[in-house]
C-alpha cells in the first residue's frame, strides 16, 4: 500500500472552503492543519464535534497527520458521547464552539488566520491507515464500530466524483445540508471536494431560503449534497436557483416523483447514492432514469446463493448488503428493501422496504411508509401506510397500489399526511412511525 496526498489538485490560492464572503485557501488550510497537528495532545482517539465543516476538516486532517483515529458518533447526546469515549480510553474532544461535555477534555480548533508559504511537498497519508470509525446500531443496542481507512475514504470520493463527471480543479462549490460526522456527509461533503480540489461551503444551510441563497452566490457550478427531506422542502417552496447544478441525495430512498419535481425546480440533475456505514457509498443512479443502481468504479456487488456482498479494493473483506438485491449480469443491481424489514401479514411474508419502494413509485407520491402495528390479540393485523402526496386522495393512491400489490398487503388505512417524522439524517425511526400510528388511531381511527 502506498501513500497519497492529504489534498487534491488545489493551487495554493484556490479556496478549500468559504462562508459569508470569507474564504480559506489551500495555503491557509495547510497552515491551519500543521499548526493544529503540532498542538494536539498525544492521544489515540478523538471525537471531532465541530459544527463548522471547515473546522471539522482541519481537525480531521490534523488528527490524521498525528495518526489519531476520529470517532464518528451516531448521536450527539452528552451521555452517548461519554459512553463512546469510555469505550475508547484516552479519547478527547475537538470542538469549534463553547459547549463542553463534562468529563471529556476538549481542544479548540482555531484558524491561524495567517498563511504559511506553500510547502515543498503535500503531506502524504498511507492508504491503509485507519483514519475514522463510523458507528452503526447493533442488534444488542451497543454501537458497532466500522473502521474506515484513508484508502476507503479517498477511493469512494474519487469514484463518486468520476461518476458525476467532476474533474480535478473544476470550478464547483459544494454545499451540504447533511452533517459531516455522518458517513455520507463525510464522504460526499468533505472528502469529495477535498480530493477534487474544489471548494466546500463551511456552513450547513437548513431552510430552503438558506439553501437558495448559498447556491445563488456561487460563482461557478453548484453541487448540493442533501436528503429527500430537504429536497421536499425546497420543492414545496418552489425555490429559484441558477440552473445546471448537481444534486446528490442519500440516507433515505428518494421517490421518483420527488426526483422529477426536484429536477424541474432546481433545473439540475438529481443523482442518488446507495450506501451504508459498513461499506460507505456503493452505487449511484439518476433517480428519474429508473430503479437500476450502477456500482461506483472499483466496487462490485456480488450475489452468492443466499447473500449479497460488496467488494472493493479498499475493503479488507466482503461486506454483506443489508438489503435484498438482485444483480444483473453487467453488475448493476436493484434493491428491494432491508432484509430485516420482513413482516408477516395474515401468513404472507413481505418486506416493508419492498412495499415502501412500490409506494414511492406511484405517481404523485412524494414520501411514504408502510407500517405494521404491533399485533392485537385475536385480530389479523393489517398494514397501515402514511403517505405524503399533495393533491392526491387516499382513495386514488389505494387504487394505484391495487395494481401492484396483493389485496392482503393493501394498507388499511392509508393516511395522507403533510409530512413524515424523519430525523436529522432523513431516516424514519420505527418509534416515530409507531407514534404517528398511535396518534392517528387515537384521534381519527374510529370512523374507518
Amino acid at each position: 500500500m502506498h501513500d497519497t496526498p492529504l489534498i487534491g489538485p488545489y493551487n495554493s490560492d484556490d479556496a478549500v472552503a468559504w462562508q459569508r464572503g470569507q474564504t480559506r485557501t489551500a495555503r491557509q488550510f495547510l497552515a491551519d492543519v500543521t499548526a493544529l497537528a503540532e498542538s494536539l495532545p498525544d492521544r489515540p482517539t478523538v471525537l471531532n464535534l465541530a459544527d463548522n465543516r471547515y473546522a471539522f476538516l482541519v481537525g480531521f486532517a490534523a488528527a490524521i497527520l498525528r495518526g489519531q483515529l476520529t470517532l464518528l458518533p451516531q448521536r450527539r447526546a452528552p451521555e452517548a458521547l461519554r459512553r463512546l469515549a469510555g469505550d475508547y480510553p484516552g479519547s478527547y474532544v475537538l470542538t469549534d464552539h463553547d459547549d463542553r461535555i463534562e468529563g471529556l477534555d476538549a481542544v479548540p480548533i482555531v484558524s491561524t488566520g495567517g498563511a504559511a508559504p506553500w510547502p515543498k511537498s503535500i503531506p502524504l497519508v498511507p492508504l491503509n491507515q485507519v483514519v475514522a470509525i463510523a458507528f452503526t446500531s447493533g442488534s444488542t443496542g451497543h454501537p458497532v464500530p466500522n473502521k474506515k481507512t484513508w484508502g476507503a475514504l479517498t477511493g469512494v470520493a474519487r469514484a463518486t466524483g468520476a461518476r458525476l463527471g467532476i474533474k480535478g480543479g473544476d470550478r464547483i462549490g459544494v454545499v451540504a445540508t447533511v452533517p459531516h460526522q455522518h458517513m455520507f456527509g463525510l464522504e460526499a461533503s468533505v472528502m469529495l471536494p477535498l480530493m477534487h480540489g474544489v471548494a466546500m461551503y463551511a456552513g450547513r444551510p437548513l431552510f430552503p431560503a438558506d439553501i437558495g441563497n448559498v447556491l445563488a452566490d456561487i460563482a461557478g457550478r453548484w453541487m448540493l449534497i442533501t436528503t429527500p427531506l430537504h429536497l421536499r422542502a425546497c420543492v414545496a417552496e418552489r425555490m429559484h436557483v441558477p440552473a445546471g447544478g448537481l444534486i446528490l441525495s442519500a440516507t433515505a430512498p428518494l421517490g421518483r416523483t420527488l426526483a422529477q419535481e426536484a429536477e424541474r425546480v432546481f433545473q439540475s440533475e438529481v443523482h442518488e447514492i446507495f450506501g451504508f456505514a459498513e461499506a460507505g457509498s456503493v452505487a449511484e443512479r439518476r433517480t428519474v432514469d429508473g430503479d437500476r443502481w450502477t456500482p461506483l468504479e472499483g466496487v462490485c456487488v456480488v450475489q452468492d446463493r443466499d447473500s449479497c456482498t460488496v467488494r472493493a479494493w479498499y475493503l479488507p473483506e466482503p461486506v454483506p448488503v443489508p438489503d435484498r438485491v438482485t444483480v444483473e449480469s453487467g453488475g448493476a443491481f436493484f434493491l428491494y428493501g432491508r432484509e430485516a424489514e420482513q413482516v408477516n401479514v395474515a401468513g404472507h411474508r413481505v418486506s416493508l422496504g419492498d412495499l415502501n419502494q412500490t409506494l414511492l413509485r406511484i405517481d404523485g407520491v412524494q414520501d411514504g411508509i408502510f407500517f405494521l402495528p404491533d399485533e392485537d390479540a385475536g385480530l389479523v393485523t393489517r398494514l397501515m401506510a402514511f403517505v405524503v402526496a399533495p393533491g392526491k386522495t387516499s382513495e386514488e393512491i389505494q387504487r394505484a397500489l391495487r395494481a401492484h400489490l396483493d389485496p392482503v398487503f393493501l394498507p388499511r388505512p392509508l393516511v395522507c399526511v403533510p409530512s413524515l417524522p424523519r430525523n436529522a439524517t432523513g431516516k424514519l425511526p420505527r418509534e416515530a412511525v409507531q407514534e404517528l400510528a398511535r396518534q392517528w388511531v387515537g384521534e381519527d381511527g374510529h370512523g374507518v
Binding site: 437548513l206 431552510f207 430552503p208 438558506d210 427531506l229 414545496a236 436529522a424 396518534q439
Partner: protein, 90 residues
C-alpha cells in the same frame, strides 16, 4: 387565519405547530414565553424545517437561518407570532 384587529396570532400558530409536528399536546398548553426548542417543547432542526414550511405555506413568510434574529424568532411562541405578524404576506 386571524381577523383584522385580533390581538395576536399565538393561538393559530400554536395549532399549526401541534398539527405540523404531530405533537400529542393541547395547543392551548403551549406557554407563550416558553422555549420551543431544546428544553421546552424539545423541538430539533428538522422540526424547524417542517415548521418553516408550514409557516411559509400558511402565511407566506419564508424563514432564513441567516436572519440575524433567527434565534429570537424561534425562542418562543410569542416571538414566532410577532415575527410572522410582521413579515406575513397572506
Amino acid at each position: 387565519m386571524t381577523r383584522p384587529g385580533s390581538p395576536t396570532l399565538e393561538p393559530d400558530l400554536a395549532k399549526l405547530i401541534v398539527q405540523t409536528l404531530k405533537l400529542k399536546i393541547d395547543p392551548v398548553s403551549i406557554q407563550p414565553e416558553a422555549p420551543l426548542f431544546g428544553e421546552g417543547l424539545g423541538l430539533d432542526s428538522i422540526d424547524a424545517l417542517e415548521l418553516s414550511l408550514a409557516i411559509s405555506q400558511t402565511y407566506g413568510y419564508q424563514l432564513k437561518s441567516s436572519d440575524p434574529e433567527i434565534k429570537t424568532i424561534f425562542s418562543s411562541l410569542r416571538a414566532l407570532a410577532n415575527a410572522v405578524e410582521k413579515h406575513r404576506t397572506k
